[in-house]
Structure formats: C-alpha cells, structure tokens
Amino acid sequence: MISRFTYFKPHNLNEAVQYLEKEENAFVLAGGTDLMILLRRNLINAEHILDIKALPEMDLFNFVDGAGLTIGASVVVNRVVDSEVVSAKYPALHQAAASLASFQLRNRATVVGNICNASPGADLPPALLVYDAVVNITGPQGTRQVPLNEFFTGVKRTVLQRGELVVSVQLPEPGAGDKSVYLRQARLRGHDLATVGIACRLKPDGKVAIGIGAVAPTPKRLFALEDKINERGISKETIEWAAQEIREHIHPITDVRSSAQYRLQIASVLLKRGLLSLIGKEE
C-alpha cells in the first residue's frame, strides 16, 4: 500500500467531526471492504484515516414500536442478516443483506458503508429505499436528516459535505401485513455485484414501492412506475403490464457485468417475479 496516512480512532463524535473538518484528504473507515480496495489499488490519496468503530452512537441497532428500525454506522451486515425483527418486518432488507458479498465480508461490511460508498449496483439501497429510509447525518453545522432517496447524487457521490458523517439509517415501522422481496441477478454469487437488484414492497393498503440498483448512476425508487401500477391496482394483469412498462423507466448502461439490453430484460423478469410472489402467484 503506497498511501501514507495517520490513523485516528476517536471515542467521541465531536472529536471525529472536528478531525474530518480540519484534515485534508481524510477518509472515514467503517468495515473497510470498499475503502481498503481503493487504498490498495492506490486509487485515493489518503493522508488521514478516521476509524468510526469506537464511537458509541454508531453501534446502535434497535427496533422501537412506532418509531421503527435504527441501524448505526458500525453495524455490520451479518448482524442485520441474523436479526429476527429484520426478517419479520423488513424481509427485502434481510434478503438483500444475505445476498451481499461473502460470509467473511459480511462480518466486516457495514450497512451504512454500503450506502456511503454510493455504488450504483450496491445491494442494500434498493431494499432501504422501498422502506423510505432516512439518513441521519452529523457534521460541523449540527445534525440533519436526508431521505435516502435524496442522498445519492451520482456514481460514488452523495450529499455528504466535508466534515460530515453518517451516524445511522432509520426505517419507519411497516404496518401489519406489509410484504417485500429483494431479487438480484449476478454472474457469480458472493463474488460479484448485482447485474440488476430490485426490491418490491406491497403495503397493507395495496400500494407498491419499487427500488432498483445497477440501472442508473444511483440506486433509485421508480416513483412514476409505482404511481401507474397503483392507479391500475395490483393484479396479475397489472404485473404483466408493469414488466413491459419498466423498460420505459430505466436507462441502464453496458459495462463489464452486462449489456444494457440484458439489464432491461432481467429488470423486467425480476420485477414480474418479485411482484407475483408478493400477491402469492407463480409465473
């Protein structure tokens, strides 16, 4: 590793923010499963590394009736996979977490790191998006909350400003009877990002939410498509129609993982499969 950096692991959030604001070329380290690759390949010039794993606020992982689920920034993906409340109330998040990387990686990789890295093809954002996740940020100007839907600004870009840290991500409580599913297509399980990843949610009032990754510069909610589906009402026929209509709502690119054409096709197949499973129908 050519990067030459100092290492700082504060126990106090204010200290962390001050450090990030003061130092040039300072990077936040959570699980390091993205950051260490960048350092190793000398793709970033890090002079300072701030390890957030000793900050008590970052370790929060709880579900409160009415308030929902809070996942602190040092909570690793395997904790989410093992959580009974996540499996019961947020199935798409459980499935997305269980599909991320390999077992060893999930022992280190954090949920918040997956968001902050802002990869278009990351697995957790589609699932977090259908639950209207909100990102809790702290920085030199105090704290602010940003809906996850507005958090990503481009490939590997977010709204985070210098000195700002994500403390946690928060998911409102779903109502009784809420259902969801996460489906992904990849070339190799455990060793590749998704070619397309899609989360579908069916709320108790019959309305759907759809989150998708790897078909745009950022993970996104397909609000316009959701509206059209909700106008028609969810049914087998609507789903058949939506599986075609989705092609008008995404604009994937061709890259090393897949052609744009294949992504369009697989998005259509996954949407159909996902929505059908939520209404208890087979293809």
Binding site: R4, T6, Y7, M36, I37, D51, K53, A101, F103, R189
Partner: protein
C-alpha cells in the same frame, strides 16, 4: 504490468508515526509498533512470522487470508493491523495443540480436501469459526460459511466431506 507488480509488493513503510498495537494472537499476548498503513495480514506474516495465513487476491475475494478475529471469520488482507488493537486472533497456527493436529486438520488430510494447499488455511479458519458458533450446522449453513473461500484444485466436495466428518468426530469427543 507495473500496476500489477506494485499491488503485490510487500508492505512499504509509510514514514508516518508508528502506532503501538497490543493484541492476543493464538493465546499469546503481543505488543508491537506498527505502521498505520500495514494490513493485518502483513503484520501476521512479516512481523510475527506466522506465514500459515496466505495472501492470494489481496482484495477480499478469495478467503486465503481468513483468520478468526474476536470469534468471527474475517479476511485479514483488507483489515489494517491497527484495527486489531485489543483483539483476540486465531490463525491456522493456533489450531494444533501440543504438536498434535486438530480433528479438523486431520479430516482435511484424510478426505484429500487439499491439493496445492494454498486455500487450506482459509478454509480451516472459516470452518473453525462456524463450528465454534454452531457445532451442528446444516449443509446449507456450511456452504454459506465457506462462500468466501475459493479453491481451484479440489472441487469443494472433499472439503464438505472433511467438514462433516469433523462435526461427527467433535460431537463424539464432546460426549453428545
């Protein structure tokens, strides 16, 4: 080619102030001054001369560098040594006791679960972490726990057999 070579170059001293690191490796308390940019893998191999832990991809993909850190299987190539402050670490060297191989190691041998052997320390450590947390895993749970370990030689079936025989023998030994 140049880029390729620099990726696999041994640790380069950063010139930054060293950090005093204190941790437990295979039951032994260790205190060393380390460079902040040294990986845990290089610390184990270069500083402690525990060369059982292997580096293959160096990027979290293959599992050759798997160790147990605070009870969890992790890939030491993408962890900084300084992150292991206060940690309890077990490497493949920690499996044999008093010069006698562990049941797990014996079964890897008896089942021909290795050929070149480069992946083996990683498989052993992923398996050990699994069985420590769950002595009676299903086939699916075994496969999941080994999902981050690649083997180019064996075709995995002998590895699965070795793990299952280990489970049997460890169960008998513990009297259940």
């Amino acid at each position: 080619m140049d880029k390729e070579c620099s990726m696999y170059k041994e640790h380069v001293e950063s010139g930054k102030r060293k950090v005093t690191l204190s941790l437990t490796v295979n039951g032994r308390h260790v205190v060393r001054d380390v460079d902040p940019n040294m990986t845990l893998l290089h610390f184990l191999r270069d500083n402690l001369k525990l060369i059982g832990t292997k580096e293959a991809c160096g990027e979290g993909e293959c599992g050759a560098c798997t160790i147990i850190m605070n009870g969890k299987a992790v890939t030491s190539c993408i962890i900084l040594a300084v992150e292991a402050e206060g940690a309890q670490i077990t490497t493949v060297e920690g499996l044999a006791k008093d010069g006698k191989l562990s049941i797990l190691q014996e079964e890897f041998i008896s089942q021909d679960a290795l050929q070149c052997g480069f992946c083996t320390p990683g498989f052993l450590m992923s398996t050990r972490a699994l069985l420590d947390n769950n002595p009676n895993p299903t086939d699916e749970e075994i496969i999941e726990a080994l999902s981050g370990n690649l083997c180019r030689c064996t075709g995995y079936i002998p590895i699965l057999k070795a793990v299952k025989r280990t489970i049997e023998r460890e169960r008998k030994e513990s009297g259940f």
